[in-house]
């Protein structure tokens, strides 16, 4: 039907495995721009910068005192922010490898940090059920605003150009629309662990702990599609869109990488998919531009770079 359906080439063959982390890897993010590099953060309190194609570790950022739970990279790749168990957001200078700022203020571990488009604001969602928006232009120690609507830990966060979307364990996805000045909260019934919007910000891919991934229409709050078959009941397994948003990819708690067609929600070819990680897959992220590459981070301590090969 659509061209996206025709070229559903999934990056299924292992390109390189990044294994320097000790303990679970909680987050793996592509850099911005050409996205040659990967930043990973894990239980071992370190953040590692990798070359994705070579599989070589470039740098280790050590400053966290607790596990690293979230990383966000600024638009210019000059800095990134990370957060984790130590209840403060760390801002890093990539080149020098030191923290430029540590923003404390949350009462609990910070599950997610996210820059806005031009990295002037960083939003952090925490176990203390608040989202705090920090101004990076000023040296103020107080947040610009605290979003306290969530009734439970905030697990995921997306900062769009004019809105902020949060997903919380209380089962709500909340969209704070700055333009309209309104808050739309959608109840999904079970804890929300990740929420990834499409490029056009019209739909949202929401992962919940009832082993469902739902595509939600952000304007009306209606469910467009429901992706099931994988197992996700107790951990944050971040799902993502495949290339051109034609597919939905998610690693589950069995170490399998599932892929669905976006439109008919059918599980794509290898079904059930092979087990590629020993433990749960905590993070799946597709390369922003390259159609043939994606990365998965797992609790078994490895980050795997997947590429598409003709042999598949």
């Amino acid at each position: 039907m659509t061209p996206s359906r025709i070229l559903q080439q999934l990056p299924r063959s292992l390109h390189v495995s990044l294994e320097n982390h000790k303990g679970s890897v909680n987050v793996a993010r592509y850099a911005k721009g050409t996205a040659k590099y990967i930043l990973t953060g894990g239980q071992d309190r370190s953040i590692r910068l990798w070359n994705a194609s070579l599989g070589s570790e470039i740098k280790v950022f050590n400053a966290h005192g607790y596990e690293v739970l979230s990383i966000t990279v600024s638009h210019d790749n000059a800095k990134f922010a990370s957060s984790g168990g130590d209840r403060s957001v760390f801002l890093w200078d990539v080149a020098s490898g030191v923290t430029t700022r540590r923003i404390a203020g949350h009462m609990g571990k910070i599950h997610v940090v996210e820059f806005n488009e031009d990295a002037t604001v960083v939003a952090s969602g925490s176990f203390d059920s608040t989202v705090r928006l920090w101004d990076l232009r000023a040296q103020s120690r107080q947040p610009i605003q605290v979003l306290e609507e969530a009734r439970d830990a905030v697990q995921t966060l997306h900062v769009g150009s004019t809105n902020i979307t949060t997903g919380s364990v209380d089962g709500h996805v909340r969209t704070y629309d700055l333009r309209k000045g309104e808050l739309r909260s959608d109840y999904l019934g079970s804890p929300v662990t990740s929420a990834v919007p499409t490029q056009d910000s019209q739909t949202l891919l929401v992962t919940t702990l009832d082993s469902h991934i739902r595509l939600i229409d952000m304007t009306s709050g209606k469910m467009l599609n429901d992706f099931t078959a994988h197992k996700n009941n107790s951990y944050r397994c971040r799902a993502c869109f495949g290339h051109a948003e034609a597919t939905v990819i998610c690693g589950d708690e069995n170490g399998q990488i599932w892929a669905w067609d976006l439109l008919d929600a059918k599980v794509l070819h290898p079904s059930p998919p092979p087990k590629v990680h020993n433990k749960i897959i905590t993070w799946t992220e597709h390369h922003p531009t390259d159609p043939n590459e994606m990365i998965t981070a797992s609790a078994d301590g490895t980050v795997k770079v997947w590429r598409y090969s003709e042999t598949d």
């Binding site: 101004d135 232009r137 000023a138 333009r179 309104e182 808050l183 109840y187 019934g189 739902r214 469910m223």
Partner: protein
């Protein structure tokens, strides 16, 4: 001070101050005191050891260890000028020397005298009548013989004669006599003997000698009765307690009579002034029993202490006597006693042994019997121990005692609603109740008993009374509602009762008290049943048809005997129920989510106010700005609306008339306290500028001359001219900047070429903040920021504004018109600006590239002057408005 001044004066006069004559001391006795000036308190810190006590005249008070308390006397000597001077004893025949006794006061200085005076406080300030004044002396002095005391008593009048004494004296009483009718000698002797023996003596015992015949002819006054003197109790001690009595003494044991207070270890170094420190307390002094000798060396009984006696300590006193024996003593088996030990006199008490009881033949241990007994005991109500407990302290309780003595019981806390009612209501209620229940008893009640609940006739406690229920009622009740469904045993008993009542013959067993139930409890229970039967019998006849009984009758939970362990099915069932319940309880939202009906049901939309700064960071206009002041002219808002988002707000801001309002638009969001004073604070220092301009009338009242009043009415025509001119640019399709500018220009900017009518023109002032803001509109984003900094600078000199306004307004009268004209002639150049704003405009503002279209003739090439002009005009318009 005076001394040094004197010295200086002397030095001036040419006297050698260091010469011996100049420094001559006139003090012959003792050492001269240091000059008084030194004793003045200079307020400087002096270490403790250097501090000294001085009296009010500045003389030193304490001189070393042994002179404490007394100021040194005359010239630091003991003697004084008039006081303690040696005098010679002179006595002549003509003038006998009076033996002058030196009183202590003679040796006291004024401080001591003052102290003495202070200490002479009367012990008893109330002048009390002293009845026993004379007798006290007699009673007190036992050594004095009776004659002497009687003499003394008669000689010394009582210190104060009481009124009674005076009356008695008038009646013939004398001091030393007793009171009463005169008695015979015999009686008097009897009295004497009684007094001496302290007991009543019968008259037969004594025989009065015969030689007192003369004496028996007279009657005598009776002997004075000794008044029993009772010490006044003026302390808070208990009776029989003497202060300072030790614990043992108070218990009657003759114990230590040692000094009271903390026991101090013997030794030196404790002065009278020193408190007993912890260090000085003898920690080894173990209580009052320990009669330690307070001696430095305990050499006498050293040997005694070496003897260790097993047994009581009290045997110590006998030790010395026993000592010789101890040396020779041997045990009974012939071995000598160890040196230092003695054989005690007391025999070692032997353990007593009791023979085991004989176990009867054929007895087998059967603990069950005992357990059964105990079980029975558990069920039986045990009033006995509680009673025993109650009687443990006093035989009977206060209530019991009271009832025995026939006391009226104290009013206790109200127990029922009845006691809160008025007497009348209570009576009425009781009457009503007694009519229905027991008419005779109700009649018998009187007012006094009605204050309390009517005493129930004490029932014989051991009689079982089964309340009667009519058979038909019982039968109906059997069919009707089961009131005790929740308690199956009670229900069963209720049923038994009803059955027994319904049949009314002995065929059915009647209700019996349960084992362990007391009779009165049982009676009560049966009464309850009877009441319940009356209450819950089904309605009869027509009434019954009107109601339908509930479809489900609660029979109560099924009771299982024994310890309950829920089976797996039960648990499952329960869980199922709970799940069901939880499902029922969930909100429609959750329910919709459960059945994947996402959409409007699961969506909630609320208003949310993003922080102002957040909007700025995201480049979004504040969705809910604070309601801003309506723009001056509808035209201005119309043009402003055509502008793009961000500048629009500023354009509208510039249209608003007052500085206050324009700053208000900037602060539309909730003010972020975190940013106050920081570089990101847009409003920094702006608040300081927002002041209320006083009413125009105020200015007028102060500055305007009378002839100007007429002028003020004219400006009304001016706006018409202005708008006429300004419509021209508005009609064109303008760029954004002109659109922004037009509001400024709109506000009747006088055409620079047109000479201003001096009579109508009135100078006003505007805050400079406003002006810079307007120029800001012309600038680009970056320049705006710089300007903001400038703004902040101008803020610092914002006070000038007032002065300007003041001066300008002061020069308003017609005298100054030529000057103004001159200014007009000069044109709207920099002078114009300098006229109104003393401070030169910020450089940035001057350097601004002015991007106004050439067609806009209204704006002068120099933006600065145009701004000031517009500002001027705007201010002017306000003046018009005010008028």
């Amino acid at each position: 001070m005076s001394g040094s001044r004197l010295k200086r004066k002397l030095g001036d006069l040419g006297v050698d101050t260091s010469s011996r004559k100049a420094n001559e001391s006139f003090c012959l006795i003792g050492t001269p005191l240091p000059p008084l000036e030194k004793s003045k308190d200079t307020g400087e810190f002096v270490p403790l050891w250097k501090q000294d006590v001085r009296d009010e005249k500045g003389r030193r008070r304490l001189h070393g260890a042994f002179t404490g308390g007394f100021s040194a006397g005359y010239f630091n000597s003991v003697g004084s000028k008039e006081g303690w001077t040696p005098s010679t004893f002179v006595s002549s025949r003509g003038e006998r020397a009076k033996q002058k006794a030196a009183r202590p006061e003679d040796f006291m200085d004024e401080e001591d005298l003052q102290e003495l005076k202070d200490s002479r406080v009367l012990v008893d300030t109330t002048d009390e009548m002293d009845f026993s004044g004379g007798n006290k002396v007699v009673a007190g002095d036992s050594e004095q013989d009776s004659i002497a005391s009687a003499l003394e008593a008669s000689l010394l009048p009582p210190p104060t004669e009481s009124a009674g004494a005076r009356i008695l004296k008038k009646m013939g009483w004398r001091l030393g006599q007793g009171i009463g009718p005169r008695i015979t000698l015999r009686q008097r002797k009897l009295q004497d003997m009684e007094a001496s023996f302290g007991s009543r003596i019968t008259g037969d015992v004594i025989n009065i000698p015969e030689d007192d015949e003369e004496g028996s002819k007279h009657t005598y006054a009776p002997r004075d009765t000794r008044i029993l003197l009772v010490d006044r109790k003026d302390n808070a001690h208990g009776l029989g307690y003497h202060p300072g009595m030790g614990l043992n003494e108070s218990l009657g044991v003759k114990g230590s009579n040692g000094p009271v207070g903390p026991k101090l270890a013997a030794g030196f170094g404790l002065g009278a002034l020193n408190d007993a420190d912890e260090d000085d307390l003898d920690v080894y002094d173990g209580g009052p029993n320990n009669n330690r000798r307070r001696e430095a060396y305990d050499n006498v009984e050293r040997a005694d202490d070496e003897n260790i006696v097993i047994g009581d300590n009290s045997g110590r006193s006998q030790k010395s006597q026993q000592r010789p024996a101890s040396f020779t003593s041997i045990f009974r088996d012939g071995r000598p006693v160890l040196a230092g030990f003695i054989i005690t006199n007391k025999p070692v008490s032997e353990d007593r042994w009791f023979p085991l009881p004989d176990v009867p033949k054929g007895w087998t241990p059967d603990p069950r019997r005992i357990w059964d007994k105990q079980q029975n005991k558990e069920n039986i109500q045990k009033p006995a121990p509680s009673q025993a407990h109650g009687k443990w302290k006093s035989g009977i309780s206060a209530d019991e005692r009271g009832s025995m003595l026939g006391e009226t019981p104290l009013p206790s806390a109200p127990r029922s609603v009845f006691e809160f009612m008025s007497q009348k209501d209570r009576e009425r209620l009781q009457k009503a109740a007694s009519h229905t229940r027991q008419p005779p008893q109700g009649q018998g009640e009187d007012g006094s008993s009605s204050s309390m609940p009517p005493p129930r006739a004490p029932l014989p406690p051991d009689v079982i009374r089964i309340a009667r229920t009519e058979p038909h009622i019982a039968q109906a009740a059997l069919r009707g509602f089961q009131p005790f469904a929740a308690d199956p045993t009670k229900q069963a008993r209720y049923k038994v009762y009803l059955e027994s009542q319904a049949s009314q013959d002995s065929s059915t067993p009647s209700l019996k008290p349960t084992p362990g139930q007391r009779i009165d409890e049982f009676n009560k229970e049966v009464e309850d049943y009877a009441k319940a039967a009356l209450l819950f019998k089904p309605m009869s006849g027509a009434m019954a048809g009107r109601f339908t009984s509930a479809a489900v009758i609660d029979h109560g939970p099924k009771i299982h005997e024994g310890l309950h362990t829920p089976s797996a099915e039960e648990i499952e069932k329960k869980e199922e129920e709970e799940r069901q319940k939880a499902e029922d309880n969930i909100s429609p939202k959750a329910h919709a989510a459960k059945i994947s009906m996402y959409g409007p049901l699961t969506r909630e939309i609320k208003p949310w106010q993003p922080a102002k700064l957040l909007c700025k960071r995201f480049g979004v206009k504040d969705p809910n700005p604070m309601p801003e002041a309506p723009a001056d002219t509808p035209l201005a808002t119309g043009t402003a609306a055509s502008g793009s988002d961000v500048p629009q707000s500023e354009a509208t801001a510039s249209t608003s008339t007052s500085v206050f309002e324009s700053s208000g638009t900037q602060r539309s969001g909730p003010k972020d306290l975190a940013n106050v004073g920081l570089g990101e604070d847009d409003d920094q220092g702006r608040d300081t500028l927002t002041y209320e301009r006083p009413e125009m009338d105020v200015y007028k009242a102060i500055f305007a001359s009378d002839d100007e009043d007429s002028d003020d009415e004219e400006p009304a025509e001016e706006p018409e001219n202005d708008t006429g001119e300004n419509t021209v640019p508005l009609g064109q399709d303008q760029t954004e900047e002109t659109a922004i500018k037009t509001p400024n220009a709109l506000v009747e900017l006088p055409p620079p070429d047109v000479p201003v009518d001096p009579s109508t023109f009135k100078p006003t002032f505007i805050p400079r903040d406003n002006k810079t803001k307007k120029s800001k509109d012309k600038g680009k984003e970056k320049e705006r920021k710089e300007k903001r900094k400038k703004e902040k600078k101008t803020v610092l000199v914002s006070f000038e504004m007032d002065e300007e306004g003041g001066t300008v307004l002061a020069t308003k009268p017609s005298k100054d018109r030529p000057k103004k004209k001159k200014r007009r002639d000069k044109g709207e150049g920099d002078d114009d600006d300098a006229m109104w704003v003393e401070k030169p405009a910020p450089n940035v503002v001057k350097d601004l590239p002015l991007a106004h279209p050439p067609s806009d003739t209204l704006v002068s090439p120099n933006g600065e002057s145009a701004d000031s002009a517009t500002a001027l005009q705007r201010g002017r318009k306000r003046a018009v408005d005010f008028l």
